[in-house]
Each structure stands twice: as structure tokens, then as C-alpha cells.
Subunit: 218 residues, 2 copies
Amino acid sequence: MDSAATEQPQSRNARRREQTRAKLIDAAKVLFARQGVERTRINEITESADVGFGSFYNHFESKEAIVDAVLSETAADHAMAIVSATGEVEDPAEVISVAHRHFVRLAIADPQLAALAVELVFSNQAIVDSLRPFAREDLKRAADAGRLDIPDLEVALHATGGALQGTIRGVLEGDLGVDADIAHAALVLRMLGLSPTEADEIARRPFPETSLGAGAGT
Amino acid sequence: MDSAATEQPQSRNARRREQTRAKLIDAAKVLFARQGVERTRINEITESADVGFGSFYNHFESKEAIVDAVLSETAADHAMAIVSATGEVEDPAEVISVAHRHFVRLAIADPQLAALAVELVFSNQAIVDSLRPFAREDLKRAADAGRLDIPDLEVALHATGGALQGTIRGVLEGDLGVDADIAHAALVLRMLGLSPTEADEIARRPFPETSLGAGAGT
């Protein structure tokens, strides 16, 4: 039974392999953020991770492959941070507001990561696919509860996701103010059927503690 | 006076130069649409335009340069087509609806061009910059007339532009139905402060004649 076999405790080798991969990803994250993807060479990643240059290729085919891995992990980390930060939030409209504000605030706080995300995440189908179920679930829950009015879930999913990308791009271009997260969340809630007044009220609610901290706007 | 000099009638040489450039762009448009940018070689463009291979480089530095020129021209053509098609439309909210529907319908009618646009236009700052003034003008006119409620024009501009890109991506992924243009336009009008009922009514109005023709949804 193959599936049972893969569920066995990992051998020491497999654990070590896992650890090396994680060290490479952590080192790459720091270097990409500090100096950009373009200027980061593979030998810098292996040196910073303190592993041999050759062993990089036991884990990744190319620099592109580790960029994808970094972005997938980062995206998943943020999705989970939002899920955990909104565990106590009862209003499904507010959950959506917090999720959108989280990513806009991330772009304001960490423009280099955001630039990487705009450039790469949205053109990377695997990563988009990995985040979309979270967004679909949030919209569906709010629509099923009668809290939001979403006549076409798929169009709403793509349009709200695109709106987020557009706003993040605006942050990166320096076009938007410090309250862009609130303005953006209010627009998204309007899209989902709330009146401008109610959308604005929800978008301005205190931002819950997430990995980004409470910060401005709370 | 330099500026007066450049306004003189063009010499025969300058006219011929202009014509050759236009022939190259037209040929490239057809080839890019038929077989994709990747698979189009420069010599195919010059052969199809019936100009010498070497003269390509009198006009463009590289294949990327002619791709940019094709997309800039295409974007400008569509912006002008929308302006002319909506000349008779009095409701500024409907103008915005038609503009968004135009681009979503374009993606449905011409997925290859749309794929090119999603891949290249939105990552090309020059082209984004060339289209944004049209969108800003439309939003500003509707807000100034009190027709729409747009508290933060810049966030709205980026978020609605991004929503359009997201919906076009959804069309390309095959996720959306044939009425995606109407569903999308309704979401955009909600974003801009209209109630779901009114947004839906405007989004469903007959689509005016543009270069895309009236087609479905009229």
C-alpha cells in the first residue's frame, strides 16, 4: 500500500533533506528581499544557507524553481495568518475586508516582496490556484449567509482578486495614500453588494493582530 | 524654429519610412495573433510585410520593441473606439460600463490578443500609462457630475483597472460564462457607488456599435 508507506515516519535522510531545502528557501527569502531576485546568485543562496553549492540542484532545478518555492510558501503563510487572525471575527464581510487589507498593508510595509508578488505571483498559475480556494471559501460563506450579494461567484472571484492586484500595483507606483488598505477594502465590499456607508464602516474596523501587527488604521 | 520645422509637410523619405513601419506593425499584428509572439521570427515579419530583413532594424531594436509598438497601437485603437462609440451615451456611468464591457468582450472574441495583453500590457508601464488617462477622465467626469460616488479616485482607478485584468484572466482560463462582460461591468458600477439593482440595469443596456460590433448581450 503505497499511501500507507509514505505516511511512515520519515527516515533520518528524508528529514535532513527537508531541513536543507528549508534552509535554502529561508536564505533565498532574505536575499531576494534584500537585493532582489535578479541580483541574487545561486552561490549566494547556498553560502548563506551554509550548504554546498552542488546540493542546491538536489532540491531545485534552477533559480526560477526556488523563486516559485519562496513565493508559494510566502503566499501560504499569509493565507494561514489571515485565517488565524480572523478566527474570532464573526461578520463574514469583515473577514473579506481583513484579508484584502492584509495584502495591501503588506505591500505598503514590504514593497520589495510586493513587487516580487505582482511580477511573479499573478503570472504563476500554481500560486494563484493555491490562494484562490481561500478567497472562494470566504466569498461563498458570506453569500450563503445572505450577508453579501454575489450573483456570479466566479466573476466576483476574478474581479476582486484583480482589484487587489491593481491596488498593490498602485501602492508600488507610489500613487496611493497610507489608508489605501481601507479605501480598497471598502471598494471590494461595495462590489459584493454592501452600500457605500456600510462598506466604509466595515473597512474602518480595527485591524486584528496578524503577522503584520496592528499598526496604522487600528 | 525647430517646432515649426517639424510641422512642415513630411518629405517623401519620411513618408516612406512611416509606411514601412506601419507595414511591419500590421504584419506583426497578424503573425502574433495567428501563431503567438514566441514563435514569430523577425524574418517572418519582414517577409510578410514585403520589406528587406535589414530594414527591420531601421525601425525596431528588437522583437520586444515591435511587440511594444503593436500593443501600444492596439490599446490606443481600442481606447479611441470606445470614445467614439460612447459619444452619444449621456449617462457617464454607462460610459464606464461600455468601456469595461468592450475589453471583456474583446477577450472573449480574441483570446490570443487578450492573452498577449494580460501577459504584456499590464507589465508594460508605458502602455498602462497611455490608457490610464482615458479611465481617469471617465471616472472624474462621473464623480464631478455627482453620478457616481468615488471617495478616492486613485484607489478606484487602480482597483477597477485591476478588476478588469482579473476578469480578463478568468475569461482566458475558461472559468467565466458568455455574459461575463455584463457581470463584470455591474461589479465595477457597484464599486463606484451604485446599488446592485441600478448597476445591473446599466450593465445590461444594449451594447453600442464599436469596432467589436454589437454581438451578444444587445
